[in-house]
């Protein structure tokens, strides 16, 4: 089941088009919204929350229409905004419990749940301190706690690791990974930080200039076209390169005993051809797999 269905969505700030005719399906699990600053990630999240009225097109979140069922959408989702934000004059436990009450939870339940999620977010020791006195990392965790208090089915995380030191970043990412895998919470994580997406997400949507440039699973987006294969031999072999060329393929690059081989379009039995070439060259194959690139390479290619 899709978490969100977006069809021909256009969003404007005045006359400036921030998102243009965007259509995509957001699957369950942890989905990364990846894109450079100004790509329209935050604007898309705000529209899905019902903060912005679409200029045209529409979307559903968890089956609810963002135009007409905003309250129902917000009943079932949580938002961790990008900017530093808190409700002034409250301690962390009051803040999180208050967020729960705003979601319709009874006061006693909201308070009990506030303690639970603050414990989970690692703020149990500081829960009675005013949030104004918190460090940036603690404020981020408090924001996550208020988004989780009512047990949302979907969590929007907008640049959740902004301004965090490496340790705090690691903690927040671990929590996001944990929540979004096996705990019944879907996450849409907006970030321009590729390692954050790579570490937490199963699926990626690459955005630029308000449009979707690429969308796939993390593995899928990292794999090059199915025409390229990486082969590792026991020892370097010039004979292997010749056999590959004779089979109609091309060695794109080689480093010591590793080769990247590209086959022409329409080749169906590439792996068999590679094994055959290795046998003919009397070379021992250590590994053979589709070529992969880093998410950074994939991202740069998508936004080119």
């Amino acid at each position: 089941m899709a978490v969100a269905e977006i069809s021909s969505l256009t969003l404007k700030y005045g006359s400036k088009v921030a998102v243009s005719d965007l259509s995509c399906t957001v699957p369950e699990g942890c989905v990364g919204l990846l894109g450079p600053n100004g790509a329209g990630k935050t604007t898309l999240i705000k529209a899905l929350m019902g903060f912005l009225t679409p200029a045209s097109g529409g979307a559903t979140v968890l089956g609810y229409d963002i135009r007409t069922e905003g309250l129902k959408v917000r009943m079932h989702v949580g938002l961790m905004p990008e900017q530093e934000c808190h409700i002034p004059g409250l301690s962390a436990v009051q803040y999180v419990a208050y967020a729960g009450e705003l979601c319709g939870m009874p006061s006693a339940d909201a308070m009990r749940r506030a303690h639970e999620v603050l414990d989970y977010c690692g703020l149990s020791e500081a829960r009675y301190r005013p949030i104004e006195t918190y460090s940036t990392g603690m404020k981020q965790k408090a924001k996550l706690a208020q988004a989780l208090v009512h047990g949302p089915q979907l969590l929007f995380l907008d640049e959740p690791t902004n301004g965090l030191d490496p340790q705090a970043r690691d903690e927040v990412l671990t929590m996001i990974r944990d929540i979004s895998h096996g705990k019944g919470v879907n996450c849409i994580l907006s970030s321009h930080l590729l390692p954050d997406i790579e570490r937490t997400c199963d699926h990626v949507i690459v955005m630029q200039h308000g449009t979707v440039r690429a969308q796939d699973s993390v593995e899928g987006i990292r794999s090059l076209s199915m025409r390229q294969w990486d082969v590792e031999l026991r020892e370097p072999s010039e004979e292997f390169e010749r056999e590959v060329a004779a089979a109609g393929a091309e060695v794109v690059w080689s480093v010591l005993n590793r080769y990247r081989v590209e086959f022409p379009d329409g080749t169906s039995d590439a792996s068999h051809t590679l094994f055959l070439a290795a046998r003919n060259a009397s070379a021992q194959v250590r590994s053979i797999r589709h070529s992969q690139r880093t998410l950074e390479d994939a991202f740069l290619e998508a936004i080119e």
Binding site: Y13, G14, S15, K16, K46, M49, F51, L52, L71, K72, R74, M75, V77, G78, L79, P81, Q83, E84, C85, H86, I87, P88, G89, L90, Y98, A99, E101, L102, C103, G104, M105, P106, D109, R113, E116, V117, D119, Y120, Q146, A147, L148, V149, H150, G151, M175, D178, I179, K183, G184, V185
Partner: protein, 298 residues
């Protein structure tokens, strides 16, 4: 027997499957939080004590006069109107409660938190308005009602009810006037600011200058207008609306510092229209500025 090393409690994330209501009273948690935050402020309690002082003095006067022959000819309504008109402390209470109500949320980007929950802008605005209204209402109502009750008990309940019986139910309306005016205008000004002190200063400035201007303007026109018209003109300000409608409800005009003789009451219909207009403007200003995202005009 081996010792257990890890925690026995399950500290991993668990979902919430308890009850959740989407009721029409979504504004109540907001109002309740406003009350909770205000009641924790020491300055608020100092101002409450100061706002109650005129009524304490009035009760002392009533106590003394009740022991004089024939009550020294006092009129209870006149004294109540005079105490009700000592409005400065109520204004300051309203400022401490309301100036930061939305401005502080603007400064800390709290609107994104509020509006990401299943509440509407209307719920948010009404919750904020109600928290100011309840506090100002209580600050005005308790001493007015208490004074009327004290007078009734000391004068003899039956005799008092015969002469001033309507004052008890009227106390509910009397308190609603300043509470409505202050709450409506303060949410409007607060919504347009990010600094509570600035919102408070703007409201106080508008309040004092407008009041001063109409007082001077009314005095200048005093000789050219009838007494009733002059009284109405002098009340064409926020404070004028509050005292004018309040004294109309009490039934006796406030005595002027410069003219101790009995004054005519201002026209309540004009003041009601002005009060409604001021409140509507305040609420409209707030409604237009409450949003979860900055709107960029391009």
């Amino acid at each position: 027997m081996s010792e257990t090393a890890g925690p026995i409690a399950d500290l991993s994330y668990r979902g919430y499957d308890g009850p959740r209501r989407v009721s029409i009273g979504r504004w109540w948690p907001i109002a309740k939080n406003g009350l909770r935050v205000t009641l924790r402020k020491k300055g608020f309690w100092v101002l409450v004590v100061l706002a109650y002082l005129p009524y304490v003095l009035l009760m002392m006067q009533l106590f003394v006069f009740s022991r004089m022959p024939e009550g020294a000819g006092i009129r209870f309504e006149e004294m109540l109107a005079q105490s009700y008109s000592s409005w400065y402390w109520v204004l300051f209470v309203a400022l401490i409660v309301g100036a930061g109500s939305i401005a502080a949320d603007n400064r800390s980007n709290a609107l994104q938190i509020y509006l990401a929950k299943p509440i509407t802008k209307g719920d948010y605005l009404f919750g904020k308005w109600l928290s100011i209204f309840i506090i100002v209402y209580a600050v005005v109502f308790i001493p007015v009602f208490g004074t009327v009750l004290y007078a009734a008990l000391s004068e003899g309940m039956i005799e008092f009810m015969r002469e001033h019986g309507w004052l008890l139910p009227k106390a509910f309306l009397i308190a609603a006037v300043p509470a409505t005016v202050h709450a409506s205008l303060l949410v409007g000004i607060s919504a347009w600011n990010r600094l509570p002190w600035l919102a408070g200063t703007i409201y106080a400035a508008v309040f004092f200058f407008w009041n001063g201007f109409t007082t001077i303007f009314g005095s200048v026109l005093q000789d050219r207008l009838s007494d009733g018209m002059s009284a109405t003109v002098q009340h064409l300000s926020l404070q004028g609306v509050i005292t004018g409608l309040g004294t109309n409800l009490i039934g006796v005009a406030q005595r002027s510092m410069f003219r101790p003789e009995t004054q005519p009451l201002p026209d309540w219909r004009v003041l009601l229209v002005l009060g409604f207009a001021a409140c509507a403007i305040g609420l409209f200003l707030a409604r237009t500025h409450i949003r979860a995202v900055e709107v960029v005009k391009g």
